[in-house]
Symmetry: C2
Subunit: 454 residues, 2 copies
Amino acid sequence: MAPGQLHLNVFVVGHGHHEAAWRHPRSATVPVTDVAYFQRLARRAEEGLLDSVFFADQLIVGGDAGHRPRGGLEPLTLLAALATATERIGLIATASTTYTEPYNLARQFASLDHISHGRIGWNIVTSWARGAARNFGLDQPIPHDERYARAFEYLEVVTRLWDSWADDAILHDRESGRFADPDKIRGARFQGRFYRVHGALTVPRSPQGHPVLVQAGSSEEGRRFAAHHAEAIFTAQQDVDEARDFATDVRRRAAAAGRDPRHLKILPGLSPIIGSTEEAARRLERELNELTVPEVGLRHLSARFDGVDLSGLPLDEPVPLDALPQPSEVQGPQSRARLITELVRRERPTLRELLYRLAGGRGHLVVAGTPEQIADRIEHWAGAGAADGFNVMPPYLPGGLDDFIDHVVPELQRRGLFRKEYEGTTLRDNYDLPRPRNRVFAHEETTPPPRSSS
Amino acid sequence: MAPGQLHLNVFVVGHGHHEAAWRHPRSATVPVTDVAYFQRLARRAEEGLLDSVFFADQLIVGGDAGHRPRGGLEPLTLLAALATATERIGLIATASTTYTEPYNLARQFASLDHISHGRIGWNIVTSWARGAARNFGLDQPIPHDERYARAFEYLEVVTRLWDSWADDAILHDRESGRFADPDKIRGARFQGRFYRVHGALTVPRSPQGHPVLVQAGSSEEGRRFAAHHAEAIFTAQQDVDEARDFATDVRRRAAAAGRDPRHLKILPGLSPIIGSTEEAARRLERELNELTVPEVGLRHLSARFDGVDLSGLPLDEPVPLDALPQPSEVQGPQSRARLITELVRRERPTLRELLYRLAGGRGHLVVAGTPEQIADRIEHWAGAGAADGFNVMPPYLPGGLDDFIDHVVPELQRRGLFRKEYEGTTLRDNYDLPRPRNRVFAHEETTPPPRSSS
């Protein structure tokens, strides 16, 4: 990794990533639907020169709204509202290939890329939750492998739609009355196993050509998908060696798929619990953990293993090794199930300790320490080839983001690891990624002509 | 209609409504994807105290991009970008009940209503174009009557989802750890002929309860739908008596459906071609008409009649009465087909004259005149009970909007027909519509408790 090339997103969840963040006095008490609050967070992240703001998504309320914040703004409409409040920072939203028509998704993302002048990314998910399936006319989620088969086809459709206008299709020639060159707008004419889309997109080709493609699945199919399509990977990793193995594997797969592996940024999640001393950071972590409600953590853990019943396990005894199903049999995200299983095997925590471990980052790395200690960990992982940067998950908000920007970012800049100004204006510029060529018009592209505007 | 109660939207199309607007020197030369341009238009309309900005939508590029502006921003993402640039004006976008999953549509509109603090409206369309069907996996559009059967069911699902959180569901009580009252979040549990949606929405109930429901179909099924669901109707009318008959009919139907007919605002389209003298206005209209390209108008006319071939008709001879199919056999919007057929029968125009008539407003009323003459027409229609206001369609932009706001609005204010300040902060306030009760929690509603924010 070249110096100064570290990539840092902030992954924003309402009151912060710690399960009990909303109960802690340092977190905001704003309603989950307050757009001005999210705009302030995005502007703050932009002041810190972060690469992007990232939002997850769920197509289900979740059953534990009694004990944790649920509900909020829909990510694509939120992204548009943030695009108009910021200028340089990237904006990444999650959307599902399983429950949205490709024509609708393609045009909303293309439109967002225009609205933001090229700062949009799409975190591609395939939606494993049963509750989500039942909100879209199904009884059960589509099985893991078929979801990915659909996702491959979906990407083929959506990228064709994004390429359905040549960059120089629009002439806007008042004099001759020629608005566009019809030969430079071409229908997708796609007919696959799962999708059929005939026409061109209603949105002209966007500033980035395609929004940046992000992916977070780490199962076998997830890695195969990422190797073909992803330009950034969000991944949950607890251990630097395992993280490096993962990074090496997906880079090798990308190269095997004919891609430049530098065009795939690997960004593990990192929840930094920052204190002026290590003791202060650990105290804050304890405070947050002690505000958790065990039912919430148990429900979350159970959901990661297809709903296995854990209610009989005592909280303060080690988790039995056979209490959790085999990860390979899980229909949800298998990599997260594997990570949790290995954590149980390696550390033999009590159930309460395991719930605390997951309360901070739901399986992502949690580091409690001083700004220097956090920077050390970032530098170590980056230097070891385990990460091109991090998806920063503030434990509480807005303070956890403020602390990271005020104390960790300057430390990384002093070490020559992070930018001191934005390199460009698009998310592709921030991530140092190329603009994709238009594959539909690959053999016909010329440089765009000057716009006529008599 | 009470004095001061006229409702005026601006219906925005990129360079203006006249088919040749983009070629006229008075229109903007901005790209069709320039969000800042649309933000300026929305702010200008807000300065003029208009009720709302309205955007149509198409799920197909259209075949005449060679000769007229095509492509643009997707309406829902655009609306979010306008919501953050304005404060009081309503924002209405078109979306289809045929090609979007109800769960996706419900949460995007609810989210927009939060982002805009209660200024969103949904123009409900059922999508008749064959090209649109082919972008969503079908060979042919769903037939007219089945589209409406689906639309009825769709509205039932979507409104249940909007009501799936009680207004007072969120407690945000840090002390007790109770975020929400789970009994006040209830799954839609909907199982119909076309849709099945089990869970609650991911978005808490929005400021308006439901976004304002708008509808534009005027066929038998369209009127039946409007009588049940619409709170505003956009309609194309050429004649004040026919417009009054239409208004009387839908008001009667709304009353028969158990609704207060005052809660259904009838807003015909009106394209005002404004000049300082009548002669100047007529000259501008001629200039615009003479910039049209006949193929564009012919293609549009043909599309209104399921693609009938009109290419053999001479431009400067009267349109034969049998050249167009019977409106009742048309699968697209029947009311527009009927309007055009009646115009041909009544006025016996040449084909070129008919194309000119349709170039200005595609069947909507076009009035060329001085600001006073335009205000006269508005006053006459409103006084006759033919309109609660108008959907103003500037022939070219931004100048056509500026002229309306600078000259027609003050004239209407002088006559006591239009507001001098906004009455409230939501689109429902602008339209003088009630906030719908939550039907899911109808028997349990209390006034929302004060928000806990320790």
